[in-house]
C-alpha cells in the first residue's frame, strides 16, 4: 500500500509519522511519501499538545526530555483557566500525575519529526490536483481551504486573534495559561525563548483597535506582530471518493481553547487506520465518528463560556448563551452525573478495562473539575 501525505505542517508530519512508524514491522510496510510546497510557511505561533501527541512520539520516535536539544519544547502539565466563571479565580485542568504534554514552536517541531522520519520519501513539489498522484490513499494536509462552500460552520463566539510575544520567563509556568479578558480570552504559552500570546475576540463585538488596546492593557504586551480573522469549520466530505482523506486545517478549524487540534489530527489518523489498514471500519463509520467527536469538542468548548467570566461585557453576555442553544444531550448527561458525585459513573467501575470512556478528549474527571469550580 502506498500513501501520499500532502503538506508538512503539524497534521502532515504527524500523519507521515503515524503510517510509516506503526507499519514498519509489517511484512509489507506502508510506503509513505510526503510532498510539500516550500513556498508555503507554517503558521508562526506557539502551540500546545495534550497527551495524545507525546504518546505517539514516544511510541514512534522515543521522544523524551533528551530531545530538548532537537526542538525546544516546554512541559505542559495542564491548563490554568484564569478569570473564567464566577466561583474561583483560577480553575485547573490538570493532566494525570505521571504525564505531561508540551508547548512548542511549529517549525521546530515539524523539522524534528521530518528529520526523524524513517522510510518516508520527501519531495518539494506543488501539487495542483489529486490526479497527479499515484497512491492508494492521499492525506491532504495542506492547510486552510480557499473555498468554504463544502464545509460546515462550527458554533463558537470568536473570529479574530491578535498575536504578540513577551520575553521568556526564567522560571516559566509549566502549564498553558488561558486568561479570560473583556473581549474573549488570551492564550499564554511559555516557550524557552519567549512567551507566545494570542488575544482571541470577536471583531463584530470589539473593534480591532479596541481589542489591541485591551490586549496591551490586560496582558502587558507592547508590539502586536500579527493579527488575522478566522473561520471555524468542518469538511462536509472529510473523505473524498474513498481515497482522499482530509486532515489538519484542511479538515477543520476550531478555536484553540483546550488545545484540541493536534490531538484531533492523531485521533482522526487512528480512525482512518482502522479503515485502510485494519479493515475493521469504513469511510461511513469514520465520518460518523468524526461528526460525533467534533460535536463533543464543539459542545465542551461552548460549555467553557456558559458561566461567563469575571467580565460582564457584551462578548460574555452573548457567548454564554451559545451553549444552551447548542447543547449536546450526552454532555448534559455527564454533567448531571458529575454534579451528583456519581463516582460509579465517573469511574465506570463496572467496565474496568474500558473505564474512563472519554468525551472527545476529556475524561469525566476533567468535566467534573470544570463543573465544580466554574
Amino acid at each position: 500500500m502506498k500513501i501520499t501525505v500532502l503538506g508538512r505542517g503539524n497534521a502532515g508530519v504527524l500523519t507521515a509519522l503515524h503510517y510509516s512508524a506503526y507499519s514498519q514491522n509489517f511484512d509489507n510496510p506502508v510506503e509513505v511519501e510526503l510532498i510539500h510546497d516550500s513556498e508555503i510557511n507554517p503558521v508562526p505561533v506557539g502551540q500546545a499538545t495534550n497527551l495524545v501527541v507525546p504518546q505517539l512520539m514516544w511510541d514512534c520516535l522515543g521522544t523524551s526530555f533528551t530531545n530538548l536539544k532537537d526542538f525546544s519544547f516546554t512541559e505542559k502539565t495542564g491548563i490554568m483557566f484564569e478569570n473564567f466563571g464566577k466561583k474561583n479565580k483560577e480553575i485547573w485542568h490538570p493532566f494525570p500525575i505521571g504525564t505531561f504534554a508540551f508547548h512548542f514552536e511549529p517549525d521546530e517541531f515539524q523539522n524534528y519529526i521530518l528529520n526523524n522520519l524513517k522510510n518516508v520519501t520527501i519531495k518539494d513539489q506543488h501539487i495542483p490536483d489529486y490526479d497527479k498522484i499515484d497512491s492508494d490513499y492521499i492525506f491532504d494536509c495542506r492547510g486552510t481551504p480557499k473555498d468554504f462552500s463544502n464545509y460546515y460552520d462550527l458554533v463558537n463566539p470568536l473570529n479574530h486573534v491578535l498575536l504578540a510575544k513577551l520575553p521568556a520567563e526564567h522560571d516559566y509556568v509549566k502549564w498553558t495559561r488561558t486568561i479570560a479578558t473583556p473581549d474573549g480570552w488570551c492564550f499564554y504559552i511559555p516557550l524557552r525563548d519567549k512567551v507566545s500570546l494570542g488575544y482571541n475576540f470577536n471583531d463584530k463585538i470589539t473593534p480591532i483597535e479596541k481589542a489591541k488596546e485591551n490586549f496591551r492593557k490586560h496582558l502587558g504586551v507592547e508590539e502586536i506582530h500579527n493579527h488575522f480573522s478566522f473561520k471555524q469549520y468542518l469538511a462536509k466530505e472529510p473523505i473524498i471518493d474513498n481515497r482522499v482523506i482530509l486532515n489538519g486545517n484542511r479538515l477543520f478549524f476550531l478555536e484553540p481553547l483546550e488545545a484540541t487540534a493536534v490531538c484531533s489530527y492523531v485521533k482522526w489518523n487512528q480512525q482512518i487506520w482502522e479503515w485502510i489498514i485494519n479493515k475493521k471500519s469504513s469511510p461511513q463509520k469514520a465520518k460518523m465518528w468524526l461528526y460525533e467527536y467534533m460535536n463533543q469538542i464543539q459542545s465542551f468548548i461552548l460549555y467553557h463560556y456558559k458561566d461567563g467570566s469575571t467580565y460582564n461585557t457584551k462578548f460574555w453576555k452573548q457567548a454564554n448563551k451559545l451553549y444552551e442553544k447548542n447543547k449536546d444531550p450526552e454532555l448534559e448527561s455527564i454533567i448531571k452525573y458529575v454534579k451528583n458525585n456519581d463516582y460509579d459513573y465517573i469511574r465506570n467501575i463496572h467496565d474496568y478495562p474500558n473505564h474512563f470512556k472519554p468525551y472527545a478528549q476529556w475524561q469525566p474527571w476533567n468535566i467534573k473539575l470544570w463543573v465544580d469550580n466554574v
Binding site: 461511513q284 447543547k327 444531550p329
Partner: protein
C-alpha cells in the same frame, strides 16, 4: 398557522443526525406501507424513535436537539421515514397522523433537499429543505409526496401534546 424554522439545528447536530440515519449501513430501517395512502399503497422505510408511550430506539438522543425546539408536554409518536424516488412526484392522501388525541401538534423535520413537499388542505406547500422544521396543529390535514430529483425523501415526524 404553520411555523417554519430553517436551519433549526447547528451544522454539526445536523451532520451527525443525517450521517447516522442516511449514510450508515447499521441504522435499522423497517419496511412498511404508507398507511395514509389507500390507493396503490406505496412502500416506505420507517424507524420509530418513540411510540406506545416509550422510547423505541437506541438512537433517541440524536433527535433531542430537535425536541429542544418543541414545547412538549407529552410525546405521542416520533417516526422517521424514507420514501424512495419515483419518476414523477407522487402525492399521498391527505390525513392527520393520529385520531387517538383530540388536541396535539405535529412537527416535520426535513432531512434532505429534494423536490418533494408537504401539502396542506388549504393548498399551502412547504418544500423539503434540509434542516427545516415545520410545526402545526395536528388536526390540520396534510400530505407528503415522493420526490423525483433525489434518490429518496426523508423526514422525521413528531406528534406531541404541547405544553
Amino acid at each position: 398557522m404553520i411555523k417554519i424554522i430553517d436551519n433549526v439545528l447547528n451544522d454539526l447536530h445536523y451532520a451527525k443526525l443525517k450521517s447516522t440515519l442516511l449514510d450508515n449501513i447499521n441504522f435499522p430501517w423497517y419496511l412498511g406501507k404508507i398507511v395514509a395512502t389507500e390507493k396503490n399503497s406505496p412502500y416506505q422505510f420507517s424507524h420509530i424513535f418513540y411510540g406506545e408511550q416509550k422510547i423505541n430506539s437506541n438512537y433517541f438522543t440524536l433527535i433531542e436537539p430537535v425536541l429542544q425546539n418543541l414545547k412538549i408536554k407529552n410525546l405521542i409518536r416520533i417516526k422517521a421515514n424514507i420514501i424512495l424516488k419515483t419518476s414523477e412526484i407522487v402525492k399521498h392522501d391527505f390525513h392527520i397522523d393520529t385520531k387517538a388525541e383530540k388536541k396535539f401538534n405535529t412537527a416535520i423535520y426535513y432531512l434532505n433537499d429534494n423536490n418533494g413537499f408537504t401539502e396542506f388542505e388549504n393548498g399551502k406547500i412547504v418544500k423539503s429543505i434540509s434542516n427545516r422544521l415545520i410545526i402545526f396543529d395536528g388536526k390540520i390535514k396534510h400530505r407528503g409526496t415522493s420526490c423525483s430529483d433525489n434518490n429518496y425523501r426523508s423526514v422525521i415526524n413528531f406528534n406531541y401534546i404541547k405544553k
